[in-house]
């Protein structure tokens, strides 16, 4: 593959969709603090020189957002009380749909919920009190009143700096949640960020959140993405995770299927200091175009990053899971294990780029992506990349992709299990392998219920 740098081409004309995004910036109230406003202007300028992500940017080769977004919707507005009520009741109605993952209908974990609707934090739908040791601010407050970490949040710990969608996000993000967990705090209930896209009107959404976990603190963080389905949206959302030394974060992502014409870019920027540990578990379905890009820097010795995920795709959905992992300190560990089930005319993209700096001796890095293609025109692209400058490391990657095993299917059929059930059983087993090591039975069951519901829906279609 030839490397094509995302070099600014000053002469390039913005297309209509890109110009509309630049115009959105002009309509924003400028940030009161000079430094912040400059940061946003610089980000916008960078975006303007690259435009929407497209296939000639190497990191976006398989996911061409520019082609998928010929028009940009108006920016989402802060939902009013009336529309919040509607959202509340619509979400409640989801409870009667057993096929929809619906974190608002029941709360098996007793988590503390922070709900972001169309990119705006909604205090009305969110937990009213938080445990001591956890402080909540909103990004819009930070933008207007200042916040000691604001520059850090907008610059994203210098992770994903060259990513055009992150630049766009830094320029346009209007709101989001900022959580700070005090050093040493051991927070029992899970903190749950729920991102809802309402179906009031087609819209574009830019939101940025951040979670700072103090030294030795420990949290469970759930991240839920729900869209209501009937109306198209263009989302570009970012979450910054900053783990101080010896901090522990158990992160769970659940991402329900989005509208078949929606574009959805989710970026995670994770900065891990010495001895900290971030374990991520994800269950993701598709949307018209969806990309989850996770930038991780293992900044201090003995930090650990583990990501495991299941991706279930159908329709013509396109879903991309990209990891950019930088090992800069010694004795760190990283894992990215993904299992994909790709049905109908869907496309899956797994990219993992692990770079190991000279100083990062004894790095232990592994990634693996396995895909099962069900549809005749289903497709999967795997692109693992290792870039190693240290000599004493153990790094590896593997990618496989194929159909369901005919011999296994026959074995099950020979025991009396009809083909569709045999397929569903093998597929549930394939997905379930990713959740095998989970010690939390409830969580495992919630995730597997979603997998089984997806498989059941497949059986009916």
């Amino acid at each position: 593959m030839t490397a094509v740098a995302a070099r600014p081409s000053v002469t390039r004309q913005l297309n209509e969709a890109e110009q509309a995004l630049v115009d959105q910036f002009a309509a924003l109230a400028p940030a009161p603090m000079r430094q912040v406003q400059e940061l946003r202007e610089t980000s916008l300028a960078r975006f303007a020189s690259n435009g929407l992500a497209h296939r000639r940017i190497e990191a976006w080769h398989y996911t061409d957002l520019r082609s998928a977004q010929s028009h940009t919707f108006a920016p989402a507005q802060r939902p009013n009380a009336q529309s919040l009520d509607q959202i509340k009741s619509r979400l409640a109605a989801l409870a009667s749909n057993p096929l929809a993952s619906n974190p608002l209908a029941s709360n098996p974990f007793g988590s503390l919920r922070l709900v972001v609707v169309d990119g705006f934090f909604s205090p009305e739908l969110s937990a009213q009190t938080l445990p001591s040791g956890v402080t909540l601010t909103t990004l819009s407050q930070a933008l207007t009143q200042g916040h000691p970490r604001l520059a850090h949040i907008l610059s994203g710990s210098a992770l994903g700096e060259s990513d055009t969608m992150l630049n766009l996000n830094a320029a346009l993000c209007a709101d989001g949640v900022i959580l700070e967990v005090a050093a040493g705090a051991q927070i029992e209930p899970a903190l749950e960020l729920i991102f809802v896209t309402s179906d009031a009107a087609p819209k574009s959404v830019q939101t940025r959140s951040a979670v700072f976990v103090g030294q030795g603190a420990k949290i469970r963080l759930f991240e839920h993405h729900l869209s209501e389905g009937q109306v198209q949206s263009q989302r570009n959302q970012a979450v910054l995770l900053d783990l101080a030394s010896a901090a522990h974060v158990e992160h769970v992502l659940m991402c329900a299927q989005g509208h078949a014409q929606s574009n959805d870019v989710m970026s995670v920027l994770a900065n891990l200091h010495e001895g900290s540990e971030l374990s991520m578990l994800g269950l993701m379905q598709g949307a018209g175009l969806r990309r989850r890009q996770t930038f991780v820097r293992l900044n201090g010795a003995h930090a650990r990053f583990h990501a495991r995920g299941v991706v279930l795709l159908n329709r013509k959905d396109h879903c991309d899971a990209t990891f950019v992992v930088e090992h800069v300190a010694p004795d760190c560990e990283s894992r990215e294990f993904f299992n994909w089930i790709v049905d109908e005319e869907a496309t899956g993209v797994f990219q993992g780029k692990v770079s190991v700096a000279r100083a990062a001796q004894k790095t232990d890095g592994r990634m693996k992506s396995r895909g099962i293609l069900l549809g005749e025109t289903a497709a999967m692209f795997n692109k693992p990349e290792l870039e190693i400058f240290a000599d004493d490391v153990a790094c590896g990657h593997g990618a496989t992709c194929g159909e369901l095993d005919a011999d296994q299917l026959f074995y099950a059929q020979a025991r009396g299990i009809p083909l569709p059930e045999a397929e569903a059983m093998l597929l549930a087993g394939f997905a379930g392998e990713i959740f095998d090591e989970l010690s939390d039975e409830t969580l495992r069951e919630v995730l597997m219920d979603d997998v089984r519901a997806w498989l059941a829906q497949r059986g009916q279609g």
Binding site: D405, A406, D407, Q408, F410, Y411, A412, Q413, A414, R415, G416, I417, P418, L419, E421, A422, M425, L426, A428, G429, F430, A431, G432, E433, D436
Partner: protein, 249 residues
């Protein structure tokens, strides 16, 4: 009763079963012996309905039911069971889950009520105890990381649980240690009854010391070339297949 009449079958255009006729009455245990590659496993797959095996002629009947018209899972529900020569590993699906799915799906196809979880567990535990299958194996993914012998034990556990009308055992003895061979044979023998037939494919007399057959058949080049009683197995052990293979040419 299993009746195979003048069966012809191909894999990838190559004839493997070539005019095979064999009847195994209810209550009978028939052994099939034959050189490697003579088509014994192929026969078992054709009977059980494995895709990719094309029947080009002949018939297979089980208790008056034409099996060749049915998909594999319906043949199983009609009471056919194949203990595989090489049992498959099913990652991510626990043995327990698989057994329950198999049993209840067969019951459903036969119009019987599904077993409740407690009833099912009782049944599995009882069968597991007689075959020396440990609880831990029931909780692990089916056959994944099981030893060769453990896989064979588990095949027989499934047979005991599913109580088929007819069982085909394809080299169930291979990979079993001496004690396991005895335990597994006892499992098979416990199922022997007037109504039930067995086709036991093996290379060695030692299995037939434990599961004493009523008839012994020699298969070569996709056909039955010799039929006799238990003494035929002893003769084969002494003299090998040479004469029979030559006769099949």
């Amino acid at each position: 009763m299993l009746e195979i009449k003048n069966l012809h079958a191909e894999i990838a255009g190559k004839t493997i079963i070539d005019g095979l006729t064999l009847t195994v009455r209810s209550g009978e245990v028939a052994a099939i012996m034959g050189p490697n590659g003579s088509g014994k496993s192929t026969l078992s797959y054709v009977i059980s309905g494995r895709p990719g095996y094309e029947v080009t002629g002949g018939e297979v009947w089980l208790n008056g039911q034409n099996l060749l018209d049915l998909p594999a899972h319906e043949r199983a529900a009609k009471g056919l069971f194949l203990a595989f020569q090489y049992p498959l590993e099913i990652p991510g699906v626990t043995t327990m889950t698989f057994l329950k799915a198999a049993l209840n799906s067969q019951r459903k196809l036969r119009g019987e009520a599904e077993l409740s979880t407690p009833d099912f567990m009782k049944k599995v535990r009882a069968a597991a105890a007689t075959l020396g299958v440990k609880d831990d194996m029931l909780r692990r993914a089916l056959n994944v990381g099981f030893s060769g012998g453990e896989k064979k034990r588990l095949e027989i556990l499934q047979m005991v649980l599913l109580e088929p009308a007819f069982g085909i055992l394809d080299e169930t003895d291979s990979g079993l240690d001496i004690d396991a061979l005895r335990i597994v044979s006892q499992g098979v023998n416990s199922l022997r009854s007037k109504e039930r037939g067995f086709l036991v494919i093996t290379h060695y007399q030692r299995l037939l010391d434990h599961i004493v057959p009523d008839t012994v058949h020699v298969m070569a080049k996709g056909r039955i070339v010799k039929t006799g009683g238990p003494e035929l197995a002893h003769e084969l052990e002494r003299n090998g297949y040479r004469d029979y293979v030559a006769a099949a040419e």
